[in-house]
Amino acid sequence: MLAYAINLAVLICINATLAVTLNFIMGYAGIFSIAHAVFFGIGAYSAAYAAAHFSASFFVAVPLAMAVAGVLSLALALPALRVRGEYFVAASLGLQVMAVTVFSEWKSVTGGIGGVIGIPPVELLGRAVAEPLEFLLLALACLLLVIAGTGVLLRSSFGRSLQAVRDSESAAQAAGKNVAAIKTLAVVVSSALAAVAGALYAFYIGFINVESFTLDTSVLLMAMVIIGGTGTMLGPIIGALLLMLLPSAFSYLWFLPQAQIGACQQLAYGAAMVLLMLFRPGGLVAARRDGVVR
């Protein structure tokens, strides 16, 4: 039972990291991306590649993953500079589908559908982190660092400019802000930090393939942010917690026929999304904006 709980906790940490980084661009920059799983994947594949070809050290694999994701996220930043709202969602959708095709076909790097198998455990300060409990501590540490990092950024002048751009792009431009640079930087930071989660995921499961980085994952992450509440730090974490725990809660309903448990879990998940949007659209954690509580 403990092993089960630790496993769940690690996955929650990884997903919370992803949700927090997505919220950085969704809640604070107003950039609604449905391609976040792409950078999760890029981080995972880069870390796996580094572990196989260079070194499994945390301080080699993770920075490499962040760098690759950061550079490639410029492909997402490009439409972000041109369009907003539903158009941007559609562009990020296009990027997501294209990325899945690349992940499936670039077999020499990603292994295609067969994936990358036998990823060695990550090495931290000379020793391999193979025990689940140790890995949980590492994942928690990364989550806290990401939260701290984004928090610091948001409280800085960059963060204020970011929110100014979100609230009114033309006003921000009139005030002399370099909107293009701000948006691009936000996308790069968000993607690079998402890659950290990807690297952790690759090291934890020891196997990655394209199935973890599809549109479904991106929409799940977006749901975590919106259900939890955009615009606050706590919101995405609550969202991640809820959406990861809800299906497991189902396992305690012994009267469901085995073949249908999965479908029932998904029904509950879909129903939760609909009900929450009907009755609590601002998200579970309401944002405080200018003292006005929503």
Partner: protein, 290 residues
């Protein structure tokens, strides 16, 4: 020869894409609701038809009419029970998006529980193709699809230009406030939009059952194409979405002339991505909000 065959395949697939895309575009353009569950409307119509025709051995016309009724009912109920309350409260774009996605998941799983998760199809001689030219095969259903699509679009065009309701719908997509000033009810008009948009998905759904077959996940694929076509065609232009749907169907098929099949899905989205970056207003749309 191969190119001609692929062109013809593309026309057939494109006709079906055009219908569903037009339905989505009508709904999205008129009500600004990101109706992700449009794919579920498609799936509902398809499975109702399959259930009645194959499992209950009903006459195909009866099955088709009931499928259409189911689709329309689904669309309108969704609007009334889910979208309208959300829009009354706060109605942010993404709230609707997530709610619609939740509905899509629910429908997909209900279908899976009721009909099983594997592939089902309707056997009919209409789907068997015959050689109509050197190296070119076509099935009667392909002809039906193309002619049917043209017929539906013709009817749609007449409706939108000649009837009061149709004109009111077009007005709603341009300027909701003015519509209210003229004494029409945007609420009622949006229900009409949903009914009509959902209806457009039905012929495509029925033909798909007999040609490529169904599985519970069919809704998502259809949804992605409809969305891509709506953007490429220009938001607010039903004609644009239809043309773009046709174009994407052709592109997907013609890509096979030179590329391996696994790249054909990516082709659709490369086209979408390029349009958004280079020409967000699409073919016929209004200028993009920036």
């Amino acid at each position: 020869m191969l190119l001609l065959q692929l062109l013809f395949n593309g026309l057939q697939v494109g006709a079906l894409y055009a219908l569903t895309a037009a339905g989505f575009s009508l709904i999205f353009g008129t009500t600004r609701v990101f109706h992700l569950a449009h794919g579920s409307t498609f799936a509902t119509a398809a499975y109702v038809f399959y259930g009645l025709y194959t499992l209950a051995h009903a006459h195909w016309l009866l099955a088709a009419l009931l499928a259409a009724a189911a689709a329309v009912l689904f669309g309108v109920l969704l609007d009334r029970l889910v979208y309208a309350p959300i829009q009354r409260h706060e109605g942010s774009f993404f709230t609707l998006f997530i709610a619609s996605f939740g509905v899509a998941i629910i429908v997909q799983n209900l279908i899976g529980m009721a009909f099983g998760r594997s592939f089902v199809t309707v056997t009919t001689p209409l789907s068997r193709s015959v050689e109509i030219g050197p190296g070119v095969f076509a099935a009667p259903l392909a002809g039906i699809a193309i002619v049917g699509a043209l017929g539906f679009f013709g009817a749609l065009h007449l409706f939108l230009t000649r009837t009061h309701l149709g004109i009111a719908l077009r007005a709603l997509s341009e300027n909701p406030e003015l519509v209210r000033a003229y004494g029409l009810s945007p609420r009622r008009l949006s229900a009409v939009a949903f009914a009509l948009g959902s209806l457009l998905a039905v012929p495509a759904a029925i033909i798909t059952v007999a040609t490529s077959g169904l599985n519970p996940g069919i809704g998502s694929h259809v949804m992605l194409i409809s969305l891509a076509a709506t953007i490429v065609g220009g938001v607010g232009s039903v004609r644009g979405a239809a043309c773009a749907g046709l174009l994407l169907g052709l592109a997907e098929s013609l890509a096979l002339w030179k590329l391996e099949p696994q790249w054909s899905e990516a082709v659709t989205f490369v086209v979408l991505f390029l349009f958004i970056v280079l020409r967000p207003s699409g073919f016929f749309g209004r200028a993009a909000v920036h």
